[in-house]
Amino acid sequence: MEKLLLLGDEAIAQAAIDAGMSGIYAYPGTPSTEIMEYVQASPEAKMHHIRSLWSANEKTAMETALGMSYAGKRAMVCMKHVGLNVAADAFINAAITGANGGLIVVSADDPSMHSSQNEQDSRFYGKFALIPILEPANQQEAYDMVHYGFQLSEDLHVPVLLRITTRLAHSRTGIQRLERRDQNTLRLPSNLKQFILLPSIARKQYRELLTKQSHFEAASDISDFNRYYDHADKKTGIIACGLAFNYLIENFPGHVVPHPVLKIGQYPVPRDAVNLLYESCEEILVLEDGYPIIEELLKGMLNKGKKIKGRLDGTLPRDGELSPAIVSEALGIPHFRGNEVPSIVKNRPPRLCDGCGHNDAFLALNEALEMYGRGRVFSDIGCYTLSALEPLESINSCVDMGASITMAIGAADAGLVPAVAAIGDSTFTHSGITGLLDAINNNSPITVLILDNSTTGMTGGQTSSAYGKVEDICRGLGVSDDHIHIIKPLRKHHEENMAIIQKELAYNGVSVIIPRRECIQTLNRKMRQKAKVKSMEVPS
């Protein structure tokens, strides 16, 4: 079969289609978004009736995928690393219920925080949940691991975590496909109480999960994704996890490393192979693109064994993603660095697009707040977070999905009145609704701007669960009709919009203002499509 040129994310999606997946569940988040988008655009997925709609958030996605697994079919759930925090309750407990149909959880980490608020390492979550983890070194392995992961999940009746990082997710290469598998038929779990986590059953299920640990370890020991390469220079033995393996071999001609190397792609860590490396070498270098998990395990609390080098002893930087140059420095291999960036080159940070409605909304908010002074706008995760930068400098917080409304409540409780929340429409239905309910029940003196661009903008314009529902949700939660305003964020309405915001800032209760104007990017895309359709019409 001809190779396909695919991003890492797309390779995962294609593999899931080929491996007989029946449904995929996700909330958009860089660098995971393209997995779902690929399935949505795939004619094969359509032909095989694979379910592929966006969920309201990662928790609902995780639970829905678990429901499909309960019914015996293969399901995948995809998210960025911080999405796994949102899905954590369902994720941890899914390890206790176990899986029926194959269940793969893809978590895409973002070391160096290219598009994220932290660089947490999802492998900790896998270890926390006590489930097998797969970590591909390249896009072909990512493809192969999805086939293997569904099988592993069904053989061991457990969800499997597939951990990827930005560079793997967003790098394109040729992918060789495997043979297609049929989807499972509807098949209930053999034990109909398996998914009821009442304490009496949960205790039994948890003990079963603990018993299965030895099976997971045995699977790692014989896995093709864990490989031991024995070489002569035994001064240093190297453990390289996932993508770090590529950065390692890049530094050697013909990709042959003179040291013994253990490449890890499946967890729990293959204990025998680690032991062999430790016993054969004088010191160990651990290369992990993320947190120093294996390094810490090897060192132990007292660090009384052989020298373990990595992120903790300063051989590698403590934070940020690895690169070929960082690994070459750790190995003492000289590498050439070109000239410095000329001082004339200025930073070019991302910014709100020209013509973006958020810009006009924040200009109005800034002016309305002038009489109260700075420091009272709590914001959220989305394009509008860019209003933190010059020239707007409108907001004072961005923590996690939904935190704008709840932080505003707390600040108002402390006496910061008025407090303002600024949240996007998609983020509002992701995690803002419950916070607004708190505000209503608390009768908090806060003004909530729900910036409605009718899409999930930052990740490239995916369908927003909030579309057409924002004011109805607010009304349903109990926001008074007198204090819900829909405004059009355009320069020509500036004075009028500013006056509405000012009036609501003075109100001693919950107000919701909805600046509503379609995202300029999705609007342009629609206009281009329309023009294309028009040009294809035959004039009569």
């Binding site: 040129l5 590529n246 590498h335 070109g338 070019r348 490239g460």
Partner: protein, 193 residues
Amino acid sequence: MKKDIILAGVGGQGILSIAACIGMAALDEGLFLKQAEVHGMSQRGGAVQSHLRISSEEIASDLIPEGKVDLIIAVEPMESLRYIPMLHPTGWIITSITPFNNIPDYPDIELILKEIWKQPHYVTLDADTVAKDCGSIKAANMVILGAASPFLGLKPGSIENAIRKIFDGKGEDVILLNIKALQHGRAFALKNM
């Protein structure tokens, strides 16, 4: 054969269309390929780059090692300078001279060009004007690709085939315009290397 290329520009300028053409041509010639793209936040008008590696041998890292870049292909002059530390002493810079000014402190374009001309190997060209002369300013990226083509180690025919495939469905006029832009860019580079 091995070429390590950085494509540079500003989010929204469409550097990925250049990457797609090179990638398609490389695959046609049976080469290995890895192309690391930037998605997400930076696409909103920020500096963006793509690491494109093509080779007759298998490629390990998705990122090009520092100091090993053979070619910086930029659709914006200041962005061509941002990746200088990655460039090998024998490497080339191919860049458009038209600034994309979306920041308050964008430097004087003359000073930027002077800085580029201090580098040992470069081709600077007014891709917008060349594209306009070919029929549409939209083909400026293909002019840049053409100017880079003598350095890619790929056959000109396979790049033209790639353009045919990628613009398939947009009509023969669009394909011919882009191929013309490619050829004009190539001719300019061959004259000014």
